[in-house]
Symmetry: C2
Subunit: 200 residues, 2 copies
Amino acid sequence: MATFSPLIDRLLETLRVLPGVGPRSAQRMAFHLLERDREGGQRLAQVLSEALEKVGYCERCRNLTESRLCSICEQSRRDDHSLCVVESPADLLAIEEAGGFNGRYFVLHGHLSPIDGIGPEALGLDLLERIVSERQVSELILATNPTVEGEASAHYIAEQLRSLGVRCSRLAYGVPMGGELEYVDGGTLSRAFMGRQPFE
Amino acid sequence: MATFSPLIDRLLETLRVLPGVGPRSAQRMAFHLLERDREGGQRLAQVLSEALEKVGYCERCRNLTESRLCSICEQSRRDDHSLCVVESPADLLAIEEAGGFNGRYFVLHGHLSPIDGIGPEALGLDLLERIVSERQVSELILATNPTVEGEASAHYIAEQLRSLGVRCSRLAYGVPMGGELEYVDGGTLSRAFMGRQPFE
Ligand SMILES: [Zn+2]
Ligand SMILES: [Zn+2]
């Protein structure tokens, strides 16, 4: 690719910290902002910097927030007895948007990964244990990803909190709604068979 | 979409100043930076702000640059007699990447659009006229877009500079390389017919 000026080249390169942005879209973004929306671009730079500086973890559930407590923990109409453990804020958002769950959340920000040095502390499991016992949580929904690591993390957490007498559950595995059986992968299909339900 | 914290919501909204970024990709970008690359995000905010503040127009060709002259105008091995007029820096880049042209450029940053109040001054046509006469340009390649507005701007410029005795040319219209005739639109096809060339 032809080079521009040093500063524009640096901008093109830096835009690629954004996920899904390759050389072409970096170029389109840079030109758009420089040619047509400098004000919007400056606003983006300012809000981005402020968010990265101020947004941290909710004290209670480790959801992302710039306040002490996140907006979900602030809601009084939530069911304190039901706590859903997720790997990421994006997972939390997906569950909120799906609707139907009215309890609280706990965000791990990852999964156990001894190879990468991610242990129980990094996932905030001591805080989780404290929340479960102090706030009288009766059901813990372990909504970590349906992957080897997510599975292992769920098992580890269930094991750790067993002594607190909390009931642990896991999202059902099965064929996705609206899909056609012939396109469902074998692993999912066999889990769906094992978990088959009586038909009424 | 479920709301997050005020600051995160503002970030999600502001990311959409970027072209091609909808609610979903804004979310993916925000979470990626907040969860996995705060340092990269801060670098982006800083470089973006600096570029928007410092990048202006080259004094000679109006290409984007933070210097007095752009990198192309700085090159001494370019042919001063041939000047290519384009609507945008992106067009300039596309021609540079295609290769084969070794002259200079002039960037209009738009096209004539009386409805939007974009006249000859906004396109820098007085500077263009001065460059053409002072730098002894012999050929002006009017590489504005093959649209009604690009066409009209090319005609206007050719008319304005007629008295300077500069030869004006326009990119050839025709069927795109590698395309299949049946998929070429009618307007392009009829222009290609009108512009047919002797076959040797
Ligand atoms: Zn919270
Ligand atoms: Zn220049």
